[in-house]
């Protein structure tokens, strides 16, 4: 048998093992139930709110299926996969340690890294199976007459795939590091929860020192995908982080490898260098149909003509006005002006000028208290001497309100509580039912 086919057999075994494990099966069934519940709640809310939107075209423009239905549905996946998947994924390695089957590697005709790679591939396959449980929600939404924005939906799936890779790599790393599966699972959860913590921690005044780190929080970066923004930096960050943990997992997986701590330090230094490099990448694209993350065409054209914009904010970063400014104006500005410089005033400067925003273009600066979009554009016009053209008063995006009719709730119940769990159970039984062997030589 050719080496390629032998590798295929090994990958096949690892994949089969994880899919036919009780833990894997239970997780997939739970995912099905929770995704179903999240989808049901999201559609119900969207549908009720749509009743008013059908009478008011302006209100209807705020109805978009991805933030309205699919992001909450994916929320169910996020919680369960983050907290339970490590228990399944670590088994790829901890079972080998527990049973001592790791030593079978001595008889395999390929390197220890090939064996490790087969486990990574099996983990990715499990992730894809888990993600596939989200697909019926898209089909069902279409069946209800809902609209599916292609790019935005693909971006959302891609974001969760990248997040899944992060969970997988952390799980493999923990499993390689610890002998006991309980320790490995707890460590995985610790790392995953820590990645969330740095985001919410900075919102507390006492933990404001976490602010610089929070830009790298996993939850904050996942929001880019949920908001329909393709950010090259975020994609590279997820890939880099997953690669780092996967590499470290491979180092600690290899019992015979020497200089583990040296390799760990080198890989961390390389990763920090990588982070430094990608921090300067600012290629973001608004993939939403409504362009909700972008300014109007006239404002976009105006901003593109401006030189480098510098903004100094005299607010505490945790102030709600600062957050509104970040989430509303700056987020959109960064999509157009990649070179925009934002600076938060230090605590000494804050005392006298608290609440102001200072805009600078070249050598000219202007101070304003307002953070409204119209006011900011007036300031920028004054600073640049350029005139902002009037936007055409036509509404290009009309929104997708949808009132679900008929017995749709029963349908969701049937798909996610009956059909999917039964299908999963059949697959589980089939994978575990092996023909009784007769003569085999």
């Amino acid at each position: 048998m050719q080496l390629k086919m032998k590798r295929g057999k090994l990958i096949g075994k690892e994949t089969k093992d994880i899919l036919r494990s009780k833990a894997g099966f239970i997780l997939l069934v739970l995912l099905s139930l929770l995704i179903g519940y999240s989808f049901y709640m999201a559609v119900d809310l969207y549908s009720k709110a749509s009743l008013a939107a059908l009478r008011d075209p302006l209100y209807a423009t705020g109805f978009e299926p991805v933030p309205g239905v699919f992001v909450p549905t994916f929320g169910g996946f996020f919680v369960l996969f983050s907290l339970l998947a490590p228990f399944v994924l670590i088994k790829l390695i901890t079972d080998e340690k527990k049973y001592g089957t790791f030593y079978l590697i001595a008889q395999y005709p390929f390197s220890i890294y090939r064996v490790f790679l087969s486990k990574v591939i099996a983990g990715i396959f499990f992730l894809l199976v888990s993600l596939s449980l989200l697909l019926p929600s898209f089909i069902y939404w279409r069946f209800l007459g809902g609209h599916i924005p292609d790019c935005e939906s693909v971006l959302l799936l891609m974001g969760y795939f990248l997040y899944g890779l992060f969970v997988l790599s952390v799980s493999l790393f923990s499993a390689s590091l610890f002998e006991e599966s309980a320790q490995a699972a707890i460590f995985s959860l610790f790392v995953i929860i820590l990645s969330w913590f740095i985001d919410f921690g900075k919102d507390m005044h006492l933990l404001a020192f976490l602010e610089p780190l929070s830009a790298w929080s996993i939850t904050r970066n996942l929001k880019f995908f949920e908001e329909g923004i393709f950010s090259l930096k975020v994609v590279l960050y997820f890939l880099g982080l997953s690669l780092l943990f996967t590499y470290l997992a491979s180092v600690f997986f290899d019992a015979g490898i020497r200089r583990k701590s040296g390799r760990t330090v080198v890989s961390l230094v390389v990763f920090l260098l990588f982070m430094f490099l990608i921090a300067h990448i600012n290629y973001n694209f608004d993939l939403t149909e409504s362009h909700r993350n972008s300014f109007s065409p006239a404002k976009t054209a105006f901003l593109k003509k401006l030189p480098e914009i510098r903004i100094k904010i005299y607010l505490d970063p945790t102030d709600s006005r600062a957050k509104d400014f970040e989430n509303d104006f700056l987020k959109r500005l960064r999509l157009i002006k990649r070179d925009v410089k934002i600076e938060y005033a230090g605590s000494k400067e804050l005392e006298k000028n608290y609440g102001f925003f200072v805009y600078s273009l070249g050598h000219r600066s202007m101070k304003t208290y307002s953070n409204s979009e119209e006011e900011i554009f007036m300031v920028l016009q004054d600073l640049s001497g350029l005139k902002l053209k009037e936007d055409k008063k036509e509404m290009s995006f009309r929104g997708y309100p949808l009132v679900a009719k008929g017995k749709w709730k029963l349908g969701v119940l049937f798909v996610y509580v009956v059909l999917l769990p039964i299908t999963l159970m059949l697959v589980y039984i089939l994978l575990n039912r092996t023909r009784r062997g007769g003569e085999y030589v």
Binding site: M1, M5, K6, K9, L10, K13, D17, R20, Y99, G100, T101, Y103, L104, I105, A106, Q107, Y108, P109, S111, I112, D254, A255, G256, I257, R258, N432, T434, R436, G437, G438, E439, Y440, V441
Partner: protein, 241 residues
Amino acid sequence: MEYIIEIKDIIKSYNGIKALYGVSTQIPDNCITCIIGPNGAGKSTFLKIITGFEFPDSGVVFIKGRRIESFKDAKEFVSFMPEKMTLYPDYYVFEFLSFFHDVTGYRNKSILEFLKLNKIYSKRMKELSKGWHQRLKLYIALAPRRAISVLDEPFEGFDPLKMMEIESLLKDEAKNRAFVLSIHQLNYAEKICDRYILLSSGRIVAEGTLRELKERYSPNKGGIEDIFVNAIKNEEGQIDW
């Protein structure tokens, strides 16, 4: 005598505790060499260093004259049967063997038949007795025709009758390869081993053939147990574990 393994000044410690202290020896080809010693003597560490699963803090291992610097180097020559290995409990035997044959490409029909593994094909691993499980582990280590087979406690779970069968199998296989065995049943060792390495507290206290060891440590013609006890006695005549 042609030596297939050469070990020079191996030192290995775990968390500052030394498991092997400057071990040097040579292991001949086409020969069954047994590593014997009390618990904690460093037998398993010694075997893991030969198989490349562990690396010494200092010292070198040569196999067929080639310096072993990685697991990859070692596995070219060595197959391994660890003491503590429970083969995938939920697998059927035939399912596991099918996977093993497909992935490794090593299918040894004669050993398979000799070990009568066809009798347990349709059983799940977790249903096997210790003896059958041990046979399966032995097959996995012997199926690849490597230059050296390292077997850690291969006779656990075998009754005397089965022991005799396994003994003949190993002796037959030793015509084409070298065996390094860790064994604590000294009466079995006496029947099967051509050469002995006696380890105690991480040091080689004696080595050689049974005749050589008897001449040196047991002039009263006692068995390997007497040799072992005499070898590890210190100058005051106390047993130094």
